[in-house]
């Protein structure tokens, strides 16, 4: 069997300049919102979050943890007027 051509110099140079590819992966997040209790139109928790990881889901009008940035500080849970939020300890720490 003949030797495979050594493409490494060319590919190594190509790898330096080629654009990026991306994948989407699921995350288990700490802030769990009870949609039945979350009041549409209220965004107190979104304003409370010191790292801005919550947002109102425009499709459901309910709060949701949008970014995996939670400090598990409980501000959202404490400030929610309707006890709709439970914060879990992030899975990596649990």
């Amino acid at each position: 069997m003949p030797d495979l051509p050594n493409r490494e110099p060319a590919k190594a140079a190509q790898a330096k300049i080629v654009g990026n590819a991306q994948a989407v992966r699921r995350f288990d997040v700490p802030v769990v919102v009870d949609a039945a209790k979350c009041v549409s139109g209220c965004h107190i928790c979104v304003e409370s979050c010191p790292v801005d990881c919550l947002a109102i889901d425009l499709a459901t009008s309910k709060a949701t943890m949008k970014h995996d940035d939670c400090w598990y500080c409980l501000a959202c849970e404490i400030d929610c007027p309707n006890d709709a939020i439970t914060v879990k300890i992030p899975v990596l720490l649990r």
């Binding site: 991306q22 979050c49 010191p50 801005d52 500080c73 501000a75 914060v87 300890i89 992030p90 720490l93």
Partner: protein, 584 residues
């Protein structure tokens, strides 16, 4: 999208503890003036004490402690490298601030006779005042902000300072930033700027690998250190890291200041005490580090010998304030203070003068080395300043900023913005660039990499070889900042923060290399220079961004002490270890 344009007499960057008292003080003195408080989060829940605080660590209350005692204690705790005048200014102004907080409704622990119930945690003096109901502190500050009529601008993060240069003179002219919700670029012109951006709390990577599992509020990404650096202001003692003894995995305080006065203490795996004082100093951290890495490790906080009602009291405080999710962390593992020791570890590194001594260089008037720029709180260089230091120095900074803007020689707010158009355009382009790179590197991945490299190369003990390797990696990573991509304003914020974090990492590495001795226990423990060398290194190591854009170092002498400290006292924090009994 149009820029957000704001004009102010004084702008305060950061609405945590220091920023709130600064803004209140400034607005009260300028009833018709424009005082703007910029906050990257929302002031009702922001800063290091977003969820309140369980006590003051450095209260100097007449009858319990004196300013002289306190200045001496902190001089010892910081191995002598202090500007005592700056600590003294805190010491004499903190009691009026404490009374102000009391009047505002902050609840401190008091004795039956109504006296403040002060406890001893430090090596020598009594300065710890419990706040078992301190969970409302930030709400109380927010109420006072509203009452004073401060213009609060939430969700805008400063990214660079605007500096006016004319006739060889440099002075502050404003703040440039990003609206982290809309993605708009923000231009805030001001006559004076007070930086109160908190610690560099997202520097090292927690051992859990979770980016936001930090001791400090992770919103505090070192913004203020980076802002001051790029404006050309001096920073000091950056080699004196912040490293904390924390609950393993949870990575929050256990907390010895609450539990110590009630009988809790640190033990090794043999159940023996090995440090005389649980006060967080670099020297204590070095003993903690040695114990963890010895056959007597790991290290625990021991509470299981306490009476049931004492444990109930500890839970009532620890599970409601500062980091209230501690309770569910323990419960989730089926652990309790009554039945289990709390496993401890030492944290990743950060920069925070509030706990150690690294920050933007300020004097006793909170002035930085740039005219019109002031700093206060965890990012300003008053060592071991903690919460009450932030609250006190915010007010001090505002007082002197008011004097400054009353002088004639200030940059005008609002006028001649056009003269800054080049700097403004460049910064707008820099901050918004990741939005155009739809396939760019996601900020959380680059942040993980920078912080993982910080752990690999900068976590003490330190050596020149490792640190120089680290700098090579940081230089390579700096090029990748230009490949960051953001798909929304939130990611744009995180992308800008990667720059802050990398700036802090480089400052931490170069400062540590510069000081070729060991000092402050674990905070600056160099294996290649293991001894403290007062003959050569009894100086402040300061850095700044030079005219050519490179990092420049200079040494500043330690100013003559206002409170004398003897040589033996200067070494008292080096004698924290309790020897193991001979038969073990």
């Amino acid at each position: 999208m149009d820029d957000t344009i704001i004009s102010a007499d004084i702008v305060v960057v950061g609405g945590g503890s220091a920023g709130c008292t600064a803004a209140i003080r400034a607005q009260e003195a300028l009833p018709k003036g424009r005082v703007v408080l910029l906050e990257k989060a929302n002031i009702k829940r922001s800063g290091a004490i977003a969820i309140g605080m369980d006590g003051l660590n450095n209260a100097i209350i007449p009858g319990h402690a004196t300013p002289e005692q306190y200045v001496r204690e902190i001089t010892m705790a910081n191995d002598g490298i202090v500007n005592q005048r700056a600590i003294w200014e805190y010491a004499v102004n903190s009691w009026p601030m404490l009374q102000q907080l009391d009047a505002w409704g902050v609840k401190f622990q008091k004795t039956a006779s109504g006296d403040f119930d002060v406890k001893q945690v430090h090596h020598n003096g009594r300065y710890v005042l419990p706040m078992p109901e301190g969970y409302d502190l930030k709400k109380i500050l927010t109420r006072q902000i509203r009452r004073a009529g401060v213009q609060v601008v939430n969700r805008i993060m400063g990214t660079r300072l605007l500096v006016e240069e004319s006739g060889g003179q440099r002075r502050i002219a404003g703040v440039l930033g990003l609206d982290v919700r809309s993605g708009a670029f923000a231009i805030i012109r001001a006559k004076a700027v007070i930086l109160a951006c908190g610690a560099s709390g997202r520097l090292g990577l927690p051992a859990s690998g979770y980016l936001f599992g930090t001791y400090e509020n992770p919103a505090n990404a070192g913004d203020g250190y980076s802002l001051a650096y790029h404006a050309g202001a001096e920073l000091t003692g950056i080699e004196c890291f912040q490293i904390n003894p924390l609950i393993k995995d949870y990575n929050g305080p256990a907390c010895a200041y609450v539990t110590g006065p009630l009988g809790g203490h640190t033990v090794n795996a043999l159940g023996h005490r090995f440090i005389k004082s649980d006060y967080w100093s670099g020297q204590m951290m070095l003993e903690f580090y040695k114990e963890l890495h010895s056959q007597r490790g790991p290290v625990y906080l021991k509470l299981d010998h306490l009476a049931g009602e004492t444990i109930t009291e500890i839970e009532r405080v620890l599970h409601r304030t500062e980091r209230p999710s501690r309770g569910r962390f323990h419960a989730g593992r089926g652990h309790s203070y009554a039945n289990d020791l709390v496993e401890m570890h030492i944290s990743e590194i950060g920069l925070c003068s509030g706990h150690s001594g690294s920050g933007v260089w300020i004097n006793e008037r909170a002035e930085t080395t740039l005219a019109g720029l002031y700093a206060a709180g965890d990012m300003a260089s008053v060592p071991h300043n903690y919460l009450l230091g932030a609250l006190t120095y915010g007010k001090i900074a505002a007082g002197h900023a008011l004097d400054y803007i009353a002088s004639k020689d200030v940059a005008g707010a609002g006028a001649e913005t056009a003269s800054f158009s080049e700097a403004i355009d460049a910064e707008r382009a820099r901050v918004l660039a990741p939005l155009a790179r739809t396939d760019g590197i996601p900020p959380h991945q680059l942040e993980y990499k920078i912080r993982r490299l910080v752990n690999d190369y900068l976590q003490p003990p330190k050596t020149a070889t490792r640190y120089e390797r680290g700098l090579l990696h940081f230089a390579r990573t700096a090029e990748e900042l230009g490949q960051l991509g953001a798909s929304n304003p939130h990611e744009l914020m995180r992308a800008a923060e990667c720059g802050f974090i990398l700036d802090c990492a480089v400052m931490a590495a170069k400062s540590s290399l510069y000081r070729t001795e060991s000092r402050w226990g674990l905070y600056h423990y160099r294996l290649d220079y293991p001894e403290r060398d007062d003959a050569r290194w009894f100086v402040h190591v300061n850095l700044h961004r030079g005219k050519d854009g490179t990092m420049q170092f200079l040494e500043r002498p330690v100013a003559p002490y206002v409170v004398p400290v003897s040589d033996s006292e200067l070494h008292s924090y080096s004698q924290l270890r309790i020897a193991e009994p001979a038969n073990t």
